[in-house]
Each structure stands twice: as C-alpha cells, then as structure tokens.
C-alpha cells in the first residue's frame, strides 16, 4: 500500500511538473490516435452514410461483416499490419514499420469499422424518417447522404469520440507495429505495459492517470455537446 502511495505521489509530481519524457509520450499518443480517428472518420462516415441510403446485393452481409469488425482484436490487426508492412510484405517498400505512421495505419484499420457501422445505424434511422421528404424535395442519393450526415452530426460526434477512445486505449496493435521504441514509437499504453514490467510504477501510474482523465474528459465533452445541441436544435 505504501508503495502505491509513493508511486501515486511521484506520478502527481511528473504530471504537475510536466515531465518532458511523459509529455513526449502523451503528445505522440495524441498525435497517432487523433490522426487515426481522422482517417477512420474520413473513410467510415461516408461509407456508413452510403450503406444507409443505398440498396444493393450483399448489403446485409456487408453490414454484418462491418458490425463484426467492430470487435477486431487489436493484436490481430497489429499482426496483419505487421505482415503487410514488414520488409518481405507487399507494402514493405514504404519502410514504415516501427514508425508512428505504421501505428496510425493499424489504429485506422481498428476503428474505421466502429465509425462506419455505428454511423450506418444512426444515419439509417434518420433516413427512415427523412426519406419521403428528401425524395419529395428532389434530393438524389448523394445529396441525401450529405444531408443526413449533417443532420445526425451530434450523434456522429459521439461515435467519432468512441473511436478515439478505442484507439487511445489499445495496446496490442501499436506495440506490434510500433515496437515501443523509446522516443520514436512509445505511446501511453505501450509505456505503461513496459514500465509496469520494469517496476517503474510512478511513470506507469502517471500515464494511467492521464489516459483515464483524457477518456473521461472526452466522454464528458461528447455528452455535453450532444445534450446542449439536442436542446438547442431538437
């Protein structure tokens, strides 16, 4: 118990004093996961909207597959991306294995199904309500999809933040494709794993506190955005 308290106190000192090593790790985490969530949204939101407003053979299968992909195990994604990016792999020539870019690729693959599947659901529900009205006003499939993306924007914010939460909290994919290299690819989750096994509890705990605070703050923000917006815009 005493050890934990000492570690917590040390962690507090690292956070309050903005320890440079700690800051570097936190910033890299944010950079990687925010880039991944941006890319995943650029792919996932239009894909979700497109599936929501269109009917084509194999659509149901696609939806089931997307839903299933939401539960992708991060280590498996890490492994697949590792194989693709490794020197002998099909994308080996880019030489991005063990760089932040590889981590972004892995996290994007991990979370775009979440963004696509959940936005498909939200947009399709809205489409049921809007369909006749939009068609009456002469909106084609693309105009309808864009309108629905905009009209469901508050729910989509929550979905995107859920994606970010998943990216920031996973360790399996980034540790495989990033390699947890100090100063290059070490992020919060991989650092926690490493420091804990090394016995450096203060740094691990400090990072853990920051990670949890970040996820809490994001969820609070998401809730607030949705709640305020819904009261204002209905």
């Amino acid at each position: 118990m005493y050890e934990i308290l000492t570690a917590l106190d040390e962690a507090r000192r690292l956070i309050v004093g903005v320890d440079s090593k700690l800051a570097e790790i936190v910033l890299l985490s944010l950079r990687v996961s925010l880039t991944a969530v941006l890319l995943a949204s650029l792919i996932g939101l239009p894909l979700g909207a497109a599936i929501a407003v269109s009917r084509f053979p194999g659509r149901q299968t696609l939806i089931v597959v997307l839903n299933a992909l939401m539960g992708l195990p991060p280590v498996v994604v890490g492994l697949v991306v590792y194989l693709l990016l490794s020197r002998a792999g099909p994308l080996g020539q880019f030489g991005i294995l063990f760089t932040p870019a590889a981590m972004v690729v892995a996290q994007t693959i991990l979370i775009f199904p979440i963004v696509a599947a959940l936005s498909r659901q939200v947009i399709e529900d809205a489409w049921q309500e809007y369909r006749d009205q939009l068609r009456s006003l002469g909106a084609g499939p693309i105009a309808s999809a864009l309108t629905l993306l905009w009209d469901t924007r508050f729910s989509l914010v929550t979905i995107v933040l859920a994606g970010f939460g998943r990216a920031a909290a996973e360790v399996g994919a980034v540790i495989i494709v990033g390699g947890n290299i100090d100063g290059v690819t070490r992020v919060m989750t991989t650092a926690i794993a490493l420091e804990t096994s090394k016995g450096d509890l203060p740094l691990a705990l400090g990072l853990g506190v920051i990670l949890i605070t970040l996820v809490l703050a994001l969820n609070a923000a998401a809730y607030w955005v949705k709640d305020t917006a819904q009261r204002r815009y209905g």
Binding site: D132, R135, L137, G138, A139, W150, D151, R232, Y233
Partner: protein, 234 residues
C-alpha cells in the same frame, strides 16, 4: 404539367392490393379532396401520384407541358424538419431545385413572411411547435412555386387554431394558381377546403362528386355510409 392521368393504376405490397385499378384525370382548377375511411389507400394513392411509390400495374402520366422542371410538391402529415433553422429549411428545398443561393434567401424570407413565420426564421426548425412546423412545411413547399401541391392530412395532428392557420395558407397558395390535392379525415375541412371529392373505399375509386353534392346526395352507398358514420364527429 397538369392534367394528371391515372390509368388503371394498381399498387400492392406482399400480395395485398392497396390501390385497385384507379382511373381518373385530375385537371387544373378545382381543389380535389381525397376522402375515405382508414385504410382506403388515400395516402398511398397520393404517394403514387407524387412519385414516391412505383405502381404495381397501370400508369401515371402528366399530360401537360412540363416546362422543364417537375413542378410538384408535397406536405406530409408529420412534417420532417431538417436540423437547421426555419429559414435554412426553406432554402434547402430551393437550392435542391437549382435556385441560386441569393435568390433562395430572398424567396425563403418572402414565403416565411407570407405564412407568418418571419419572426422565427432563425430558430431551429425542430424545436418549433407542431403547428409552426406544419406552416414551415407549407412554406417550404410553396417556395418552390409548384403547379400541384399534394397535402397528406396536413392538419391531422394540429389543434383548431393551427388548423385554421394551415387552411388559410392553403387558400393563399391556391390563390397563387397552385392546384391543391389533399387527403383529410375531417369532413368539415373537406367542405371548407375542397371543390370536388374523390371517394376511395378499399383501394377503389368509388365516386367523384362536387363537394356540394357529395355531402347532400352522394352517389355511392359506401360514401353515404361513410358520411352518416362520420358526420357526428366532424
């Protein structure tokens, strides 16, 4: 684009016939009320006419000169408001119809003024009252300058005050030369707003009579029974 000619128009879903060989010509001029008991197919017939549903057999044709654009609009029983301001809702329809942003803004403001909503142009549309939303839906349709306006039970969910307002607006729209085709449950409203009645029963068009005659001396036994059954509550 009028007259609208329906030739042996039928519509069924899952083997159940909803519209059964309706043939009728709807011309410019008289306000047409589609009347009939619940489940007679009034809404479906209107959606077929507006092009939201495809007939199972038979045909729908606009026989008049179209002048390029498809100049018809529809107002639904439950208005669907986009998650943006009242003004932006009207502008949305205009821009989809190819009107320039500048012109759209001017026209939208004019029409909001005409329906008495100028004061709430900048309020989010989805938090307006039911009556205001329906007036806004009428404004959105009216702004398009339709040759034909379909109204599907536009006052079914409104209180008497809002119903009066809506009827007044329909009168204004009609005064501008727009053909009115409306379904209603309310016999009093059918008398006030209509010139002729198309009476539907079980998907068939059983009679077409001027309003004055319909309520005094309907031609069909079905209409007679309907009026007797409904009048005490109208």
């Amino acid at each position: 684009m009028l007259p609208l000619v329906l030739d042996s128009l039928s519509f069924g879903i899952n083997g159940k016939t909803i519209i059964d060989r309706v043939s009728v010509e709807i011309g410019a001029g008289p306000r047409t009320i589609i009347l009939g008991p619940n489940g007679a197919g009034k809404s479906v017939l209107m959606r077929l006419c507006h092009g939201l549903l495809k007939p199972t057999s038979g045909s729908i044709a606009w026989r008049g000169a179209a002048n390029g654009r498809n100049r018809q609009a529809m107002v639904f029983q439950r208005p669907v408001m986009l998650r943006r301001s009242a003004l932006a809702n009207v502008i949305y329809g205009l821009e989809l119809a190819g009107v320039s942003p500048r012109e759209s803004d001017l026209r939208a403001r004019d029409v909001l003024d005409a329906v008495g909503l100028a004061g709430i142009a900048d309020r989010p549309a989805r938090v307006l009252s039911g009556g205001e939303q329906q007036k806004l839906a009428l404004a959105r349709a009216w702004a398009l300058g339709p040759e034909v306006l379909f109204l599907d039970e536009p006052t079914a969910n409104l209180d008497p005050g809002a119903m009066r307002d809506v009827e007044t607006i329909i009168g204004q729209i009609r005064a501008g030369g727009t053909k009115i085709v409306m379904t209603t449950h309310n016999l009093g409203q059918a008398k006030r707003v209509g010139d002729e009645i198309l009476f539907l029963s079980q998907g068939r068009l059983v009679e077409r009579t001027p309003v004055d005659q319909f309520f005094v001396k309907p031609e069909s036994a079905e209409a007679d029974a309907f009026i007797r059954g409904e009048l005490p509550w109208s």
